[in-house]
């Protein structure tokens, strides 16, 4: 699983192996007689690489775009890593340099128009930033920098006069800098409704292709987990929550509303997301998260314009600023004087730019707090109930029960499973019991099944603040800033992660106030979120875009069928072994 994927760790050379799962029908029918170099047989057309042309004259080579490559084990893992690394700070800079950006202008009457459309390459730039990224950067700054201050620094960088606008070919910057926390609130409400029912009528797809998730419902916002499940344990796919992740939801929201309200094609909007891990790059390239899913007006299906065009990780911010000669730590940590133009729809504007930034309490964890919200939603529906917590066999497994005041009636049971080793145990329990298929009469032990209705699954131990793309304590930047004499060891790593978590939760209100907010305010809020407001916003979103809520907010998964390990002829096996590094011995 590529949970801790890092662009630094590339050391195998790239060949899509013989066992690549991309359908063989795209290969030329006449196979070359001599074992040609793989680059001829399986040409990899790299997304975003400008002007990469296939070999002219020969038969059409097999093309593997990032959209197809979903981390199957047929390809050498580093090929995937290279494709992922194309969504990089370099791509950001080169896109910024392509053409002068589109501008959004609001006239006195509140009408919003777009300027600069005559240049077909001009784009409208939007960036959404995850809270884990802000926390990581705040910890990197040190000196008690808060997450909010780090957020301001990012705003200044992307929007401000002295940030990206200060350089590059066209002095382009970003029009809007958004917080994925806002989208997250919608995901929490939708996720809870999916598990508990009620709220709004559960949207359904037009056909029966994507059935609703069956209990135990598993969080699907972690792309490392989703890709692993699709590749290795497809039997859990019926359990994955159909609700989009905050990144995906934000992408769809931006592309649909901006394109509709500004009258521009979604291709003209370039959406960058800054995330704590590399797997989010894989998520951004999913076929299910493009306009092909939601754009159907005038009979034409969408072109496959992505909802999120590019994802870079927290670490890559430093590479980005270094390329432009900006010192991140010198950026002022106050709100940018450059105002963000109002969003072309006031309801969405209020949704994306809430007047008070709400914080989560620590019990929510650092991965969005899906489980936390659901538990409190259950609590709010059952007066006088309370939540009991039982620690599992290690720090990354926790079980929760919502019980009545006597503790005898159990309303709801759920758990949190973080980290690959714990995910192993989870999927094992979900595996359907098959009869013995081997002559040695293997009998599987009777599956006890899972008592949980919901499990929050995350690939990274410790949650998203410990994501693969976050700033690490052994990055040179931190070593320099902290003045470590020797390479930081595990103790320093733990301390660092605590600092990042501290920044993540740093709030003006005391923790006790936040805890109180969890249990529901009189205004019907849960964890500081108003489900009714959220639902109203979602309905509004659907109406202004003319797209049903199902296609806007929900997604589907597909099993990655691989030839690896299946019955193959001897010849194929020999070729396969010859191609493997290490020879398979």
């Amino acid at each position: 699983m590529s949970a801790i994927l890092s662009a630094d760790a590339l050391n195998d050379f790239i060949t899509p192996g013989v066992a690549c799962i991309k359908p063989v029908e795209t290969l030329p029918t006449a196979a070359p007689t001599a074992p040609a170099e793989s680059s001829l047989e399986h040409e990899v057309i790299l997304d975003g690489a400008p002007g990469s042309q296939s070999q002219s004259g020969s038969a059409a080579p097999a093309q593997i775009s990032l959209t197809d490559c979903l981390a199957c084990s047929g390809c050498v893992t580093s090929a995937e890593a290279v494709l992922v690394s194309l969504q990089s700070h370099n791509e950001v800079l080169s896109v910024l340099d392509e053409a002068p950006a589109l501008h959004v202008v609001t006239d006195g009457g509140g009408q919003v128009t777009v300027e600069g459309l005559q240049n077909p390459s001009s784009k409208l730039f939007v960036v959404s930033v995850s809270p884990q990224t802000r926390a990581s950067l705040a910890a990197a700054c040190g000196n008690d920098t808060t997450e909010q201050q780090a957020g301001h620094m990012i705003e200044q960088l992307f929007m401000g006069e002295h940030g990206l606008r200060g350089g590059g070919k066209h002095g382009n910057g970003f029009t809007w800098v958004l917080d994925t926390n806002t989208a997250r609130e919608a995901c929490l409400v939708l996720g809870s409704d999916e598990v508990l029912g009620g709220g709004m009528k559960q949207p359904k797809p037009k056909d029966d292709s994507n059935k609703p998730a069956t209990p135990p419902i598993l969080t699907s916002s972690c792309p490392g987990w989703v890709c692993y499940a699709e590749k290795t344990h497809p039997y859990v796919l019926p359990h994955l929550s159909r609700v989009k992740s905050p990144q995906a939801l934000m992408g769809t929201l931006l592309k649909t509303t901006l394109s509709r309200k500004l009258g521009i094609s979604p291709e003209r909007i370039w959406h960058l997301a800054i995330m704590p891990c590399f797997d989010k790059k894989l998520e951004a390239s999913r076929e299910e998260l493009t306009d092909a899913v939601w754009k159907t007006e005038d009979g034409q299906p969408g072109m496959g314009v992505r909802d999120v065009d590019c994802v870079i990780t927290t670490k890559e911010i430093f590479m980005l600023v270094a390329s432009r000669g900006i010192d991140f730590f010198s950026i002022p940590n106050v709100a940018s004087p450059v105002q963000q133009p109002p969003f072309p729809d006031p309801t969405i504007q209020r949704f994306l730019f809430p007047s008070n930034a709400k914080k989560q309490s620590r019990s929510a964890g650092t991965s969005g707090g899906n489980l936390h919200f659901i538990l409190h939603d259950v609590q709010s529906r059952n007066p006088d109930s309370r939540i009991e917590t039982v620690r599992g066999r290690n720090a990354d497994v926790v079980e929760y029960k919502v019980v009545d005041s006597t503790g005898k009636t159990v309303f709801f049971e759920a758990a949190r499973y973080y980290g690959f080793r714990n995910i192993q145990n989870l999927v094992r329990k979900l595996k359907p019991q098959t009869g013995s298929r081997l002559p040695g009469s293997a009998k599987r032990p009777a599956g006890k099944g899972l008592k949980f209705k919901y499990v929050e699954v995350m690939a990274c131990p410790g949650g998203c603040t410990n994501g693969g793309g976050q700033v690490k304590v052994d990055d040179q930047i931190i070593i320099d800033r902290k003045g470590f004499e020797a390479k930081p060891g595990p103790q320093e790593q733990k301390a660092w992660l605590a600092e990042v978590d501290e920044a993540y939760f740093s709030a003006d209100e005391p923790e006790s106030e936040l805890e109180k907010a969890n249990n529901g305010g009189l205004d019907g809020t849960i964890c500081g979120i108003s489900p009714s407001n959220i639902r109203d916003t979602l309905v509004h979103w659907s109406s202004i875009t003319g797209i049903d809520l199902y296609r806007l907010a929900y997604t589907s998964y597909r099993e990655v069928i691989s030839d690896v390990g299946k019955e193959i002829t001897d010849t194929e096996r020999v070729v396969q072994i010859a191609g493997k590094i290490g020879g398979g011995w």
Partner: protein, 438 residues
């Protein structure tokens, strides 16, 4: 001092398939041999086949191990296969014939009249499949108490498993840890045996079990459990110039209760012995570790000591204290360190068996043994010398495995105590060797 290695009649029958490893049961007169897709269990009393484990795996079974610490009527084996799964097997017959150590009355290769039905019932049952590794499993090993099972694979990871259904007499295994630190194919795993010195280095911070792994990335890593199911890499042993094919901890208790030494063997043709550098306990704390550990020496190698910028500051230091004299001309696939005599035997691609003994530093040719007469000199590392070699022990075939094994056959003078060597080769013949030293 010299030694003689003489062949004993090979185990019957010939397997006619490449055989990979033969593992003796810790106490009973049984030997399990992995070959092709199955395992054959031989009786050490008769030097002939006792039973077989068939089916269960779709690809080569390269590794097999006995589960220790079971009740007396139980026999369990774990197999590790190239099909990426590990199998748990139980013997459902009674063990009377086996435990008594007497010669089996019945030659199981020729079922007797009227006894066929009874024998057909006694068999190995395939209880459970452990899945999770991405590709070929190279080695499996149980911790000394049998609580933990370690598996390692070409997917560069080492997994630690535990049977959590033990009380219910059920098989329910959970993954405790997936250890990612190796950069390449992990070839072997081994646990430190339960000797008094084993808790050295734990410093109250770790539990007693210590795991080591050997890899295609030329390193060996040491792992310990730091509180609540968190297994961490505490050392990375660098020095070999090729794949480290295997490793074994010293099984006899050391003088001064030192931590068992580690034997490693490699494709680079060398066999090395590594020792844990033990820091004396210090009063007070070296640095504010935040862990409350009284021995600040944990961080000596990291922050306080000379920083080694070439590698991460891990938590304990191992050094290579001996390199055995070179005998093999090609890759060394296997070596074995006797728990009784302290002798080491090795073998590999060149088909040679070599036997080594430890020499005290003062030059006397004494064997290092558990009952210490000589004084230890901490500063001088003992040297090793070659006692004898047997070339082309399996003819032109590579030898994949060698192990010390107690003798229970009729030719043994002291059954259950005397040790022989057993080699396992590409010719599918399992050969026992009598070892005599003068």
């Amino acid at each position: 001092m010299g030694a003689k290695i003489e062949p004993l009649p090979p185990f019957t029958p010939d397997l006619y398939q490449r055989a990979w490893a033969s593992v003796p049961h810790p106490t009973l007169p049984l030997l399990a041999t992995a070959h092709a897709n199955s395992v054959t269990v031989f009786s050490l009393s008769t030097l002939s086949k006792h039973s077989a484990l068939t089916g269960g795996h779709s690809r080569s079974v390269r590794t097999v191990t006995w589960q220790p610490g079971l009740k007396s009527h139980q026999l369990r084996l774990v197999t590790g296969s190239f099909d990426a799964s590990a199998g748990l097997w139980s013997w459902n017959g009674d063990n009377n014939e086996v435990t008594s150590g007497e010669r089996l009355e019945v030659d199981v290769t020729k079922p007797q009249e009227g006894e066929e039905e009874e024998e057909a019932k006694e068999d190995w049952e395939f209880n459970l499949v452990l899945e999770g590794h991405e590709n070929e499993i190279k080695s499996v090993a149980f911790s000394p108490s049998g609580q933990f099972l370690a598996t390692c694979s070409r997917d560069k990871t080492v997994w630690i498993w535990e049977d959590v259904g033990v009380e219910d007499d059920d098989d329910e295994w959970e993954t405790l840890a997936v250890l990612n630190d190796h950069d390449a194919d992990v070839k072997a795993v081994a646990w430190a045996p339960d000797v008094p010195g084993r808790t050295k280095g734990a410093r109250g911070k770790y539990s007693a079990d210590v795991l080591a792994s050997a890899s295609y990335d030329n390193t060996v890593r040491i792992w310990r459990e730091e509180g609540e199911g968190e297994w961490v890499c505490v050392a990375c042993l660098e020095g070999h110039n090729g794949t480290v094919w295997g490793l074994q901890f010293e099984s006899c208790p050391r003088r001064g209760d030192k931590f068992p030494r580690l034997l490693t063997w490699s494709a680079d043709g060398s066999i090395r012995i590594w020792s844990l550098k033990e820091e004396p306990e210090e009063e007070g704390e070296e640095a504010d570790t935040g862990s409350g550990a009284t021995a600040g020496s944990i961080f000596r190698s990291g922050l306080g000591g000379i920083p080694n910028t070439m590698r991460r500051s891990l938590r304990e230091d191992w050094e290579c204290t001996a390199v055995l004299p070179k005998v093999h001309t090609r890759e060394i696939y296997s070596a074995t360190w006797s728990a009784k005599t302290g002798m080491i035997a090795s073998t590999g691609s060149d088909g040679t068996i070599a036997l080594y003994a430890e020499v005290e530093a003062d030059g006397d040719t004494e064997m290092a043994n558990t009952a210490a007469d000589a004084e230890t000199k901490d500063s001088a590392s003992p040297a090793w010398k070659v006692l004898t070699t047997v070339p082309v022990a399996h003819g032109p075939y590579e030898i994949n495995h060698i192990t010390w094994c107690k003798r229970f056959d009729s030719g043994a003078e002291r059954k259950g105590e005397e040790e022989m060597l057993v080699t396992t080769g590409d010719d599918g013949v399992i050969r026992p060797w009598k070892v005599t030293t003068q």
